[in-house]
Symmetry: D2
Subunit: 382 residues, 4 copies
């Protein structure tokens, strides 16, 4: 085998939550080295962040443009292979575009862009560029989510009839944005987040998880959004009805004012042969229910799993895998694909979220906001 991949990061200066997550996730499997970063638009801060990450000063840039153009000039053996974009939503499109158009592959945080127009344009740019693009819908990286998807795909549940999905957090229960909480301040700001608040930040994860596991498209939604925090303009809560393309029905409940909830993403899927239940906060269990058998609990690397679930476990059964490992699976699958491409090989069905998932996510946000404005009228993705 060849060499490790070289990653350049955009955003994610020291102190940032998600930048650190991306770095750790990229590091776990030993396939990727962080070689440079535009960690901050403040040159000094960027260099300081780079130092703490053991980078030499000349690889810490003060803008993504600078980084992309400077790296492009480096010899291939030194040059970054891809960028990882971990900025707020309004800073996804431009860096992604510039990177792709200058020959760099891209990993990008979600929601993919600020507006749906950007999303559609980015889809075209990715196609035109021939470069790889991964969107970090990290929850699809869990072993038990892969098992769930495979079970549905193989017909174990029969026809899907009912879905319950929720993504509940409580960290915006009080007005933390008024107390200098960095994460909060941009998430409640339409200029940086777009037209969706909780919708974009966590709703897109819920939407993506439903479509990823079931293999079904959401056909239409009826949304009742809530804005509970003082002086907020974006949704911090949402209650939705779902209709799937196959006739299944369901509910989605999202919130960032569900006081006391930490990161409670959970999904239940009911078919006419079997049913599944999975909770992100207890990710190493997949509960299944059956017509004529007792409830069964699948575990990573445990008995009776599909290869897709076995493949992503790094450690034996009973050794809990967590959020970082799931996140790392996105990077690992992206890196495996990129390594193959660099060696002139191909990979069938690479398993990581792409620009198309990003477009779906933006369609979801727009449909939900439109439905809510129309007093929860059923609204299709478009």
């Amino acid at each position: 085998m060849g060499r490790r991949l070289k990653m350049g990061m955009i955003g994610g200066g020291i102190g940032s939550f998600i930048g650190d997550v991306h770095r750790k996730a990229a590091a776990i499997d030993g396939m990727i080295d962080l070689v440079c970063g535009a960690f901050s638009s403040d040159a000094e801060k960027s260099i300081k962040s780079g130092k703490e990450l053991f980078l030499s000063d000349n690889r810490s840039y003060s803008s993504f443009e600078e980084m992309i153009f400077a790296e492009k000039l480096l010899p291939e053996a030194e040059r970054m292979d891809f960028v990882s974009i971990v900025t707020p939503n309004h800073m996804h499109f431009e860096p992604a575009k510039l990177a792709l158009e200058n020959g760099f592959n891209v990993v990008c945080d979600k929601p993919m862009t600020l507006t749906i127009e950007e999303a559609v344009e980015l889809e075209m740019i990715v196609e035109r560029s021939g470069k790889l693009f991964a969107l970090t819908h990290n929850y699809t990286g869990y072993s038990m989510v892969k098992q769930a998807k495979s079970m549905v795909f193989n017909g174990d549940l029969g026809n899907i009839r009912k879905i319950q999905v929720q993504y509940l957090q409580g960290w915006l229960s009080t007005s933390v944005e008024k107390t200098g909480h960095k994460q909060a301040s941009w998430r409640i700001d339409p200029k940086r987040s777009g037209i969706g608040g909780a919708l974009g930040d966590i709703g897109t994860h819920a939407e993506n998880l439903v479509e990823y596991i079931t293999g079904l498209k959401i056909d239409e939604i009826a949304a009742d959004l809530g804005v509970f925090g003082d002086d907020r303009v974006l949704d911090d809560d949402g209650n939705l009805l779902l209709r799937m393309e196959n006739g299944a029905k369901g509910t989605m409940s999202i919130s960032q004012i569900a006081l006391g909830e930490e990161n409670n993403l959970a999904i239940k899927i009911y078919g006419d042969k079997g049913s599944l239940e999975w909770q992100q906060e207890n990710p190493n269990q997949l509960i299944s229910r059956w017509l004529e058998q007792p409830l069964k609990v699948f575990t990573p690397n445990g008995n009776d799993l599909y290869p897709e679930a076995l493949n992503v476990s790094r450690i034996p059964a009973g050794h809990p895998e967590g959020y970082l490992e799931a996140f790392a699976t996105i990077y690992k699958n992206f890196a495996t694909h990129l390594m193959a491409v660099l060696e002139g090989k191909n990979i069938e069905k690479p398993d990581y979220p792409t620009v198309k998932d990003g477009v779906r996510g933006m369609q979801f946000i727009y449909a939900a906001v439109e439905s809510d404005k129309n007093n929860s009228t059923w609204t299709k993705f478009k």
Copy 2:
């Protein structure tokens, strides 16, 4: 203290699920004796049922009319004090009316009546009669449900913002009604069940639980009902959005085709100070979440409970109380009230569901069906 109360049962012949539940629930606390019954419209079957319940043949009647008129003629020391109506929905109104109008108190299963018109009329009949009427929304009898209600009432949770309630069963996942399943056959039949299927059977419990715990009225609902079973005409599934009178929002998910679910009634309530979670299948835990404290779990007869919760526990902490005990609490509170009345005393705020809860339940069914017909338009109770 005086004497045990004497109960006559309408419906509930041997083999019936809910009749047996009512008998056991009435028996646990030693306050009530079953003295007679119109267990079946077939005289022979009724007598056979009575025999197995150790009743003498002359107290087993073949119709509720016969029972009510015969018992009325008995001396007070022998005569039943109240009837317990455990028949299918279409057989609630007439027996209740006749009993009340002939001086008997009534315990009645839910949903209260076949139609909303009957419900409204029954409310007037109860008032006119001056007799006691209890509706067996049994889930309100759990100690932890009382604790939840008290916590909300005392402001521990602050303002309620979000509600999730679900009542999921799977027993109608297949066409059991075509295989002679007695419970199923009347529940899918509009003539015996009314316009709601799952809505009436379990949805009313969910609706009642929300209003009982929060002390808030549901203001309007948007319903998307499902009919998944072959050849069914009534809903066997439902997904609803809720708006409460105080501005709180929420979801309700009910189903009898949620394959593998047993009797999964669960509720989550989020306020701006604290939150609660309770699951009927694990009823001896009440999970609470807080802004600045760790998650706390309350247990029956455990630490830090309100008197309302302590009062209904019959056994020490750690000794699980179940469905029958919760059901018995309805009977106990009704019996306590009735004993007081018989002794010429009064009771402040007797704690059991009444005819008013029954009317709310019927309004809920009608609003949900109307909303569903109008493609999930928001619809108020009326």
Copy 3:
């Protein structure tokens, strides 16, 4: 069918925990009426208790002797059929003996007697009397315990290799016996409890549960008892090693000073084909583990149960059954047996704990105390 059985209670005046439990447990299934009681040695108190239980004054006695002799003189249609003994341990033997020798059947709380000599003598008395004798090891009445027993019996687990059993409570963590706590005061008193403290009160339940489920005898034990409460003389804690007759090994941990524990009786059984786990505080789940299958969870009235488990469920799956129902199963099986005997019939393998279980329990206490005195030397039951 004939008539309900008539029960006379010894001990269990109003306010007593276990007397109330016995009454409710006896009442649930509608097979037993409480007709008389010697609730207290204080005549006035006994009558007061009787009144609150709706008994006429002349059936409330001030001693068990008075009750037994008076009831014996009543016509059969009025006379009690059996006594239920719910007094502290030192008051089990004499009433049981007198009842049996005067033709009354007996239900008795555990541990069976104050001393092992009494236990052995009582075994002979029961045999000689030809009367029925049930010991209320109530935890064997749970549906999932029956399922566990049947699974072992049918070889589903293969050879049993390892056992973990614990019974942990925390109510004696502080010196509650010095603050007038009635339950505590006799339980820490050797004159009323015998040579075992926690050993007798809860250890015998643990011992009985192990032997009931596995069908194996405990061969020898090594015990390290603890006396943590100030001024106590009896064990309030115990740690034991177990060796079973078939070579299986295990641990037993019991405590009444396990602060915060409510009533945490739990057992794990490991065979060479499968394993089981059950917890009394969550009694409606039986967890099973397998070599080549995922973990499965059995539930009362759920899928794939043995008839023995199905038979004791009174309500459908998902409707939690609790402590009182399990306790009631002892009474129900005893009552069913007694009714058959009264009708001149027989019953094969009646399923309730007997005087033999009581003798085993006393042997367990004595072996544990002896082992502990010998610095935890392995000690056989004798």
Copy 4:
């Protein structure tokens, strides 16, 4: 800040379970680079392993001696800073000794050595060398284990009275060692494992966890070891009684034939003010119980934590941390210490297991084996 640390690995060729775990754990925090390895005594295999890890061929050695001597000759900027020893037990002492005596710091897997004599000698070698030595008792790296330790240390639980610890696995339930299972074959072999089987592999973790959390030494143990697998000579199961130096008592149950168990390390600690419960398979919860408060559940980065627990969480509450993160904490704390030392600084109380923990572990194994030979006589560590 300076530079990343450079790690050389001994053992852990591709396909090895624990080598891969060490590499991922070392990588997560971006402080350590793998620069060389003696992955196998077969030169070709070692090089092949190195290649897959993106190492150049000249840094893949065919023996630890070769690696240590070759690396010693490299300039400081290239030379490894420490070795990580991930071989079977019989190959711990010699490489550790050689590394230390040649100026390299050491991370070593547990149990520390093959014999107690080696352990004692290694302790002296470490002291003499002035180098750092970390033993990977990785379970102490969990945030909730740190919280538990801090709670005990700060007196929240009061005096510790009772301990239950278990470490249950099922992977040796059948004779997998006869089917070419690599992990199994050396673990059941005294030449490579030493005198303890399950005792060394998992028992030492349980012992270490007890002493780490409670801050108390185990004073003596009474052990009943089991050898259930066909033709095995080492224990694959063990049941032990514990006496702590402060008078607390407890049980320890370990097994590798607990069929169906995955990696069930769990501990319960009871004090006279509060109690704790933690399970490795659900590591993001620490359950606490209290005299006069409801049960509380602590979570990583949740409310009311001690700094020691907060410090080790890498991600926000509700984002599960798993086995690799806990393992990484050992590496992170070791690396932080080593970086400080390299910069001439000092660290107060570095928090990772040391050679002293390794000696305790070996004493535990020897005491247990001795006790077992003497029919479970109480035996002190020596």
